[in-house]
């Protein structure tokens, strides 16, 4: 297959641009190399898992302190309210029911989870409220 003059010209142009791009890439590479470690240090490319893990660890510290500071007289409401808040798992149920119209099975599982979590949310917070309403100071 013979090439026309124009094709030749175009090819040469392509080659030139490729060479230019290569040169550019190399410059870029050098710059990248210089900053690569730094970038790593800066967390630009950190797996979100690391952040979540950090959040998890710090939340355990917070939990430790916040729970120890609960007065023993309120330990029963504490059990009820932690139960209520742990049903924030409902977000998973909402995603399953709200998005996964595709899979009937998933919607079903999600719906069951939603009902169970709702029992807990309402039951947990309300029973806590009922208990806490009973703790009164001496009226003078």
């Amino acid at each position: 297959m013979e090439k026309t003059a124009l094709e030749h010209a175009l090819d040469q142009l392509d080659q030139a641009s490729a060479a230019a791009r290569l040169a550019l890439d190399q410059v870029q590479d050098a710059a990248d190399a210089a900053g690569a470690a730094a970038h790593a240090a800066s967390g630009g490319a950190i797996d979100p898992f690391v952040f979540r893990f950090a959040i998890f660890v710090l939340a355990i510290f917070v939990g430790y302190y916040v729970v120890w500071s609960v007065t023993p007289a309120l330990h029963t409401p504490l059990m009820a309210v932690t139960n209520a808040i742990s049903s924030v798992i409902v977000v998973g149920a909402l995603l399953a029911v709200g998005i996964s119209a595709a899979s009937g099975l998933a919607t079903g599982f999600g719906f069951v989870a939603l009902v169970l979590a709702s029992v807990n949310i309402f039951g947990g917070f309300l029973v806590t409220q009922r208990m806490l309403a009973m703790y009164k100071k001496k009226e003078k």
Partner: protein
């Protein structure tokens, strides 16, 4: 809604949950704390709806689910008697556990909905997190069901000790690890459900050998588990609210278990290994030596208390059983009207769950500033004329203080024996939860008031009117 903004809102709801627990550090701030918790939950739900943008049908389904579950929850919360709190908490935990399993199953069958890949192509990391969540969730579910049944008396509190149960449990544990590895490699539904089944069985096996009376520690431990399950799924969903909440709940349960074990002077391991107690196993006191007991009637008690300057009331599990809190409040009112100083002393493990006595007294409108913890009141017994011990037993047993051979030696006790007179309201000379004899019954300053706590208290109140 942008994903960043949504994550920020989830963080806000996590912080509100922290504020909810923080509020419980004092009764006056506790109601506001509970409000924070509700607002946090509301934010989490609305944020998720804004992200998921469900279709009309999906939205209807969601409203239906919330309404259904919500009304069951609300009605239960309103109707449940305060004395059934331990059972209720156990039942609620089982729901969280099952919900975690269901969410994980939904994620297996519709991974795109959760952004963790596509069917057959779920990220390995998500699979690990998910299977941890599902395993812990399933254990929480069946474990809590057993705890509920034992606490509610629908199942005997007796420990059920299978032969070689430690081997079976260890085997199941190893099987779970193998199954999780297989799930990551194959992503097979069968393996997923095998994990669920193995964990459900493990949950049952772990809890049945534990005696009914140890259930409070178990409930608290399962509370902790449900937190870790939520956190594991939080990692899968990348949801900050779930991760933070999971950690909070996990810590909370662990700390309460620790407090109970310390209050009983037992190790957590010995509780978990099971075989202890079981309400029926409690040996009664008549084991050999005949010792004299001074018993009295309501009239005697009324006379003693009306002529006292200071009465300290020590409630225990028996008060809860007899539902005697309202009668007790009446008795205290009578005494106060007569110029007698009345205080309540609460042992950290009185009753059957942490803070059990406080809730019941609060229900009977006893102001919380008349209710004192062990360290704060123990030195006052020496100045008290009467210690009115109602349905408490182990928490007053001096052998915990004096007898190194006693199984409860080292457990802190309320020094009711230091009071001038000690009135003991219980139905018999039988022992309490720990199943050991209380030497206090035979002491000089002690008067036994044998009978049901509520009836006896009511009789005393009546006798005071004469």
């Amino acid at each position: 809604m942008s994903a960043d903004f949504a994550s920020f809102l989830y963080l806000v709801s996590g912080v509100l949950f922290i504020m909810a627990l923080r509020g419980l550090s004092h009764p006056p701030t506790s109601r506001q704390g509970n409000m924070y918790g509700m607002v946090g939950m509301g934010i989490a739900i609305v944020t998720t709806l804004a992200l998921a943008r469900p279709s009309m049908g999906g939205f209807a389904l969601i409203v239906l689910g919330l309404a259904l579950g919500g009304s069951v929850g609300a009605i239960t919360a309103r109707r449940i008697p305060m004395t059934s709190m331990p059972q209720l908490v156990a039942a609620f935990h089982s729901l969280v556990g099952l919900a975690a399993v269901m969410v994980a199953a939904a994620a297996m069958y519709a991974p795109e909905s959760f952004g963790i890949g596509t069917i057959g192509n779920i990220h390995g990391q998500a699979l690990v997190e998910m299977s941890l969540g599902v395993a812990i969730g399933a254990i929480t579910f069946t474990g809590s069901v057993i705890a509920f049944l034992k606490l509610d008396g629908r199942m005997s509190g007796k420990p059920i000790m299978l032969g070689g149960r430690h081997f079976i449990n260890a085997g199941l544990g190893i099987a779970l690890v193998v199954l999780i590895v297989m799930l990551v490699l194959t992503e097979s539904y069968a393996v997923f459900w095998l994990i669920v089944v193995a964990s459900l069985v493990l949950g049952v096996l772990l809890i049945i050998p534990i005696g009914g009376a140890d259930m409070p520690v178990v409930v608290s431990m399962l509370n902790s588990y449900s937190g870790w399950a939520a956190a594991a799924l939080g990692f899968t969903l990348g949801n900050l609210a779930l991760i933070i909440t999971g950690a909070l709940v996990g810590s909370s349960g662990a700390i309460l278990s620790y407090i109970m074990c310390k209050g009983m002077n037992r190790s957590f391991i010995s509780v978990i290994l099971g075989g202890f107690g079981g309400e029926t196993a409690a040996a009664s006191g008549d084991d050999g030596i005949q010792r004299t007991v001074k018993t009295g009637a309501a009239d005697d008690a009324a006379y003693l208390m009306m002529n006292a300057q200071k009465v300290i009331i020590v409630p225990g599990y028996g008060m809860a059983v007899a539902q005697a809190q309202h009668a007790l409040r009446e008795l205290a009112d009578k005494l106060k009207a007569n110029g007698v100083e009345v205080k309540y002393a609460i042992h950290p493990v009185a009753g059957r769950m942490p803070g059990h006595m406080n809730v019941l007294l609060a229900e009977a409108n006893v102001p919380y500033d008349e209710v004192f913890e062990l360290e704060d009141i123990n030195s006052e017994f020496a100045q008290a004329d009467v210690a009115y011990v109602i349905g408490a037993n182990d928490v007053t047993n001096p052998s915990a203080r004096d007898d190194k051979a006693s199984p409860i030696y080292g457990m802190p006790i309320l020094d009711v024996d230091k009071a001038r007179t000690c009135l003991f309201v219980k139905r018999s000379l039988g022992s309490g939860y720990a199943g050991i004899d209380n030497t206090l019954f035979y002491k000089d300053g002690t008067m036994m008031l044998l009978g049901d706590a509520k009836k006896m208290t009511e009789e005393i109140v009546k006798a005071m009117d004469h």
